[in-house]
Amino acid sequence: MQQLLNGIFIGSIYALFAIGFTLVFGILDRLNLAHPAVFAASAFVGIELVERGGLSLWAALPIVFVFGAVLGLLIERLAFRPLKGRADAHFAGLISSIALAGMVIALLQWRYGPDTRRFPAGSFPDTRYEVAGAQVTLVQVVILGVSLALMVGLTYMVTRTRLGRGMRAVAENPDAARVLGVNVDRITAVTFAISSALGAVAGVLFAINVNTAQLGMGSAIELKGLAVIIVGGMGSLPGALIGGLALGLAEVFAVQYIGSSWRDVIAFGLLFLILLLRPQGLLGARKVREV
């Protein structure tokens, strides 16, 4: 039971991270490899807000959300918009976002140094609950709550609001959307902002969960994020949620029953199997190519 809950907590963070990833891919057909850098940067910024700014953990979250959104706008403006209309935009976008990620990580190293950082002692409330014989901390409950709330909010926004309708229109066909009066550039920028804001919150939550932030934490979760969005289905928001939770649970149980050194094989084995059997992912829709 304890393992199950741990799996759900870590899985909800994976899901939150992956949803940001998959949002950009689903709507704009671009893989933003600077997403992990946002994840890492926001963890460091979150720690600094608590340490220097004296904010409580929870007050830091909205600030980090905004910070992530701004970073997302920058990523779109610097790494993706200049590539618009280029024949190799797909490959070039991967590289430019990798380059931007490298710059962000270098800046983090400048600001915070290469060492692991932690939240100052005493910033965690030590309220604990007992659920069906398992220990759950308030922090974990909040992590789950925030992740779920953000994902529900995002789903509502995409399916119900005017902005979300614009996003779906752009996802279907950017040219047609433009002709029909959708401001495609604005939708693109907003999508990046939202995606990065979610990635940023995921970063802080992750840092809170394990109480560390490292420069390499982004690349560690990057592969998992990719696995999650493939397993769930590229561009599918509920798919990313389910994929994230599944990965979190699979990892926790793999560590318990097979051994920690084989943990990641599970993730990639699953990924590989899905790609072979159901390339569109669990919940993805197969795109039909037209002649």
Binding site: F25, L31, L78, A79, P82, L83, R86, A87, D88, H90, F91, A92, L94, I95, S96, I98, A99, L100, A101, G102, M103, I105, A106, L107, Q109, W110, P114, S219, E222, L223, L226, A227, I230, M234, S261, W262, D264, V265, F268, G269, L271, F272, L275, L276, P279, R289, V291
Partner: protein
């Protein structure tokens, strides 16, 4: 002097070789990140299996290791490639990445690899050997570039479906590119192992794979020198920074990333795009005597023989019958026009005939091949060639290269002979070039041979598609709205071209909305409406057919359709006042100006 830089130079060579393993698939439009896994497998198996340098001598030991490693890399890529070749784009990248990570973790947990401690390997590789290996790899890709095989890979990158229709076996070519990539990655793994003295599975992780991809894309993935330039850039930047005295730990990665960003944003096509790409045209003077001597000649069916037989052919999309129950026979030498209102099922029908869409009912035989069971490229091999309603050109290739790809089926493979500089490959290449130039000239695009396909005007792109289709010497040529976007002068020229092709023995099936042109050009016209044949016969019969008039104009009360067609077109194209207008000069003229019977779809809806 050189010794001082030996380490740097060796790493440039190694980085370039690794980048070539990415280049090998990028050139075919595949994004794979599995190369680190191939390199890892190759490095560890070669290092443990190859004899020690003390027994057989250093260089033989390295050579044996290289052969072993390349074989392991190639084998691994076949094993990974067979199940994943149907994946595209990012999906392939992530699947192969998953494979590489799985390899890393498995190797990390093995005894014989030394696990995380790594495996000690003697240092045998020298800077000279590294550059020799690099030269061999670069030579391979240089010679591949302008071979038939290399062009086919580029065609697949630009438009897979069109490549299939030109008779290219896409699956085999993609797998071949993938295996090449695996072998080159294996080579890298072994060379790396025999240089750094100690290898650990962590040396071949995600970061390494990304580094290789970055190097390849940075250098440019459409030109064989790209990986070398990319590796030089990636390796030299830190060196230069150190020499200049940039110290702080974060500035170096920051500047390197910044430079990478600048290059990728401002140099589309990578560093290699700084090197001008020569456009080659065949010398028109040379050797008219042995024209096409080296091209495979196709025997067209004799006039009157059956080319295609359709029996009860139908296609259903989720309950909607796009085409139903078509019986049709096309005989050699015929020019069959397929007309009908929008949505009548014309394109679906030709998609089935050309093998792109499997029928849901009925059967058809085209040039001896059975539709629905024959892959597109086999059907193209049987002699079917087509153009598309929406141009599907190979956009980043020149017009001439587009047509060269069209000649894939009739030209001979030249890559292996080009590696050996055999004169016969040169002759074959020249024959293919001359053939392509002839096809271009035939549609009037000879002057634009060196232009990128994407830079051509709409009408010229339509013509280029026809030239590309012609280059395969088809027995059955299918044209899907070839005159769309052409003015009446151009349409008249096209009509003359079609007539002359028919005189050469080709059978032609074409869809066109320009009814006047169809009636003028065709020997037989088939009219489709709501997925069914409503009339079939000579142009005269069709023009007088009440069912056709009704389909087009809604009721029979209207003025007879024959009059308006004759008025709109039969006069226009033949009145050759503007006949000498330069090709493509007037391309923005709407189709209605070309005498098209414009609003058929509204009338057909009224008719229901």
């Amino acid at each position: 002097m050189l010794l001082e830089y030996a380490t740097t130079l060796t790493f440039i060579a190694l980085g370039a070789i690794f980048a070539y393993s990415f280049y090998a698939v990028l050139i075919a439009g595949q994004l794979s990140l599995g190369q680190a896994g191939f390199a890892s497998l190759a490095a560890f198996s070669a290092a443990s299996l190859a004899p020690s340098g003390d027994d057989v001598g250093d260089v033989p030991a390295l050579l044996i290791a290289v052969v072993l490693g390349m074989a392991v890399g190639a084998l691994a890529s076949v094993v990974l490639g067979l199940p994943t070749m149907h994946l595209r784009g990012v999906f392939l990248a992530i699947a192969t990445l998953g494979f590489a990570e799985a390899v890393r973790i498995v190797l990390l947990n093995q005894e014989w690899t030394g696990g995380a401690q790594g495996l000690a390997v003697p240092r045998i590789l020298t800077v000279g050997m590294a550059w020799t290996a690099l030269a061999v790899v670069a030579y391979w890709f240089w010679r591949m570039g302008r071979s038939r095989y290399g062009r086919a890979l580029e065609a697949i990158r630009e438009d897979e479906l069109a490549a299939r229709s030109m008779g290219i076996d896409v699956g085999r070519h993609r797998l071949a590119a993938f295996v090449t990539s695996g072998a080159v990655a294996g080579l890298y793994g072994v060379l790396y192992a025999y240089y750094v003295r100690l290898i650990a599975p962590g040396d071949f992780d995600f970061v390494a794979a990304v580094e290789g991809l970055v190097t390849a894309v940075l250098g440019g993935s459409t030109m064989f020198l790209g990986p070398l330039l990319g590796s030089g850039f990636q390796t030299m930047i830190p060196e230069i920074q150190r020499a200049v005295g940039v110290e702080a730990g974060w500035i170096r990665p920051f500047l390197a990333s910044l430079l990478l960003l600048v290059v990728i944003l401002f140099l589309p096509g990578g560093l290699a795009s700084l090197i001008p790409r020569r456009t080659r045209m065949p010398q028109s003077d040379g050797g008219d005597g042995d024209r096409g001597a080296h091209l495979a000649a196709r025997r067209h069916p004799a006039a009157g023989e059956t080319v295609a037989t359709l029996a009860g052919l139908g296609k259903e999309y989720g309950g909607v019958h796009a085409v139903r129950d078509i019986d049709l026979e096309i005989r050699a030498g015929e020019v069959v026009g397929l007309i009908g209102p929008n949505g009548a099922g014309k394109t679906t029908l030709v998609n089935m005939i050309s093998g792109l869409v499997p029928p849901s009912s009925g059967s058809a035989t085209v040039l001896g091949a059975s539709i629905g069971r024959t892959p597109v490229h086999k059907l193209a091999g049987a002699g079917v060639s087509r153009t598309f309603q929406h141009s599907k050109l190979f956009n980043r290739l020149s017009a001439l290269e587009n047509v060269l790809v069209g000649g894939h089926l009739v030209s001979r493979p030249t890559f292996l002979r080009r590696l050996l500089w055999l004169p016969s490959s040169r002759r074959d290449e020249r024959a293919a070039l001359e053939h392509a130039a002839r096809c271009l000239n035939r549609v009037g695009l000879g002057d634009l041979a060196g232009n990128r396909a994407s830079s051509l005007s709409y009408g010229d792109q339509r013509r280029l598609e026809i030239a590309r289709a012609l280059a395969s010497e088809p027995s059955l040529l299918i044209l899907d709205e070839p005159a769309a976007g052409m003015n009446h002068v151009e349409a008249a020229k096209l009509s003359a071209l079609i007539t002359s092709l028919a005189a050469d023995g080709l059978t032609i099936l074409f869809i066109e909305h320009n009814v006047g042109m169809v009636l003028e050009t065709c020997t037989r016209v088939v009219v489709l409406n709501f997925g069914e044949v409503i009339a079939s016969g000579t142009p005269e019969e069709i023009a007088a057919d009440p069912a056709v008039i009704e389909a087009y104009l809604g009721t029979e009360d209207h003025e007879p359709v024959t009059g308006s067609i004759a008025e709109g077109t039969l006069d226009d194209p033949t009145g050759g006042a503007a006949q000498n207008a330069p090709a493509g000069a007037v391309t923005n003229v709407g189709p209605s100006a070309a005498g098209t019977l414009e609003p058929p779809d509204t009338t057909s809806r009224d008719a229901t």
